[in-house]
Amino acid sequence: MSYKIYVPCDTTAASVGADKVAAAISQQAQAQGVEVELVRNGSRGLFWLEPMVEVETAQGRVAYGPVRASDVVSLFEAQFFQAGDHPLKLGLTEEIPFLKQQERLTFARVGVIDPVSVSDYEAHGGWAGLRNALSLTQADVVAAVTASGLRGRGGAAFPTGIKWQTVLKAEAEQKYIVCNADEGDSGTFSDRMLMEGDPFCLIEGMIIAGLAVGATQGFIYLRSEYPRAFATLKTAINNAKAAGFLGADILNSGKAFELEVRLGAGAYICGEETSLLESLEGKRGQVRAKPPLPAIQGLFGKPTVVNNVVTLASVPIILAKGAEFYANYGMGRSRGTLAFQLAGNIKHGGLVEKAFGLSLSQLLNDFGGGSKSGKPIRTVQVGGPLGAYVPAEQFDLPLDYEAFAKQEFMIGHGGVVAFDDSVNMAQMAQFAMEFCVEESCGKCTPCRIGSVRGVEVIERIRAGENREANVELLKDLCDTMINGSLCAMGGMTPFPVLSALKYFPADFGVTAAPKV
């Protein structure tokens, strides 16, 4: 009898030793004559428990973790392959509260299946959305996406159905689907987890997008920092092609869709969609003025859908289970689920897919278990380096796009980075400006020069020079950047800065919170 054992191949699992654990398990199994089938799955997203090893049993999968290679001998002694008792045993994976309390729609298969097996994907509900889409008109597919309420998960939250409608209506011989897999934001890893753990879900979403708007070529623009995702995607694309899901005649429908992965080259700004398109065309990643929107004039001047990984990967379930099924999750105009990512100084870091509407404090305490250091969480940055710092007194705000925007906060891509009370917020504000200096594409002055000035002014404030006057200067500068920048790089860098100043004035050495 062969025992099925799962050891994640996910980057983060590997970063804490999963490959060594997998090797040790293979070696021990051989030495002891135990027959095992080792599956390299994606991660379930319970990263504080990684490397998390699972074994299949009649009752369901049983987890052990965090496992080090040096634990493997004792795991075999405990007959873990038959779910034997061991200090690292966590019980049934699906019963672990962090996972059990989630609503996994987009990430339903991540960590569950063999990422590059077409048949495993199919056995877990894959390709059902595509099959339905093939039986619908283009307008009906777009209508389903619109009715689901799905909004751009890359951060700007623009309604996906409306974007697709624009591309559908645009007349052109060639249209493109471009997946934005640049995931540059600190605190985010959901795109990577999806691509490493369930790449066919993204591929299926892109094929459906292609059918819907009449595009026959897709590109995935992947950041070069993700070599594992790159390898997984290439294998998955080849396997999908061999199985007839990609190519000149998808499932004998007469419809064509080709897909290629292209690597970025370490530029944060290339996550901005027009910069990304320039980069795909082989140029410097300099931002283009909008309009024209990419939906009208995108890649090589042709109508192009640019969507984030998680946006596209949410499409298959919408087409499989219906728009209403998806729209029934969420609150207000934030429909469906978001894959929140808990990072920074947090005890239980990982992925939490939940319907919109829960609060930060639920995320940080019920899921996250508080800070890793054990000290109070003073603030969290939500939505990446361009997102505001939310102070602890606002942790009960519901996670809803509009509720956040009202407070000048941003949910963005759903990254939540926790800081304990040792953080110096003036230093973080300075870093936001430094990051903008580093990553500005250089096209417009408020961003390129403004960020350099921003660093200098904050340095002076921190050094105690003319504090009140320099704080005024900083606010003016932020105003100029917000109103004068061509894109959200320069336009949103002020948000972390101003929020730090507004909620943590003492860190800047000023007493009263200045009006911002």
Partner: protein, 154 residues
Amino acid sequence: MTATIQALIDTHRSQAGALLPILHALQDQLGYVPAEAIPLIAKSLNLSRAEVQGVISFYHHFRSTPAGKHTLQICRAESCQAMGSRELEAYAKAALGIDFHQTTADGAISLEPVYCLGNCACSPSIRVGDEVQGRVDTAQLDALIAELRQGVVA
């Protein structure tokens, strides 16, 4: 070298937007994009040398000079800062006796900054070659540096 460069260019030149794939291929093979590649690329893609140079210099990933035997990247972004990456960075610089964008005198290690490796649930993070390491502390960094210096890790 010229023949190698031209062969790599020819493998990728026919695709749309070929410049980045060509630069990646060169850097993967040679470790950097040598100056002598620029006129060859320019000619093959019908671009000016300045355009090619402009693209190379725009992207942090591409280098115009060879790196040390190993490249050690330390994440400087927010999540890693929340878990002590500033201290880790200072420690690495002191241990190696170099700053970012420099290479140790023995040619073993180049130190580079990076802004997020998508490994933020296990911050702080570093990367050596294609391997990311998470939850890194100074002891682990010491061990790694020693390993790299001995040329144990490829």
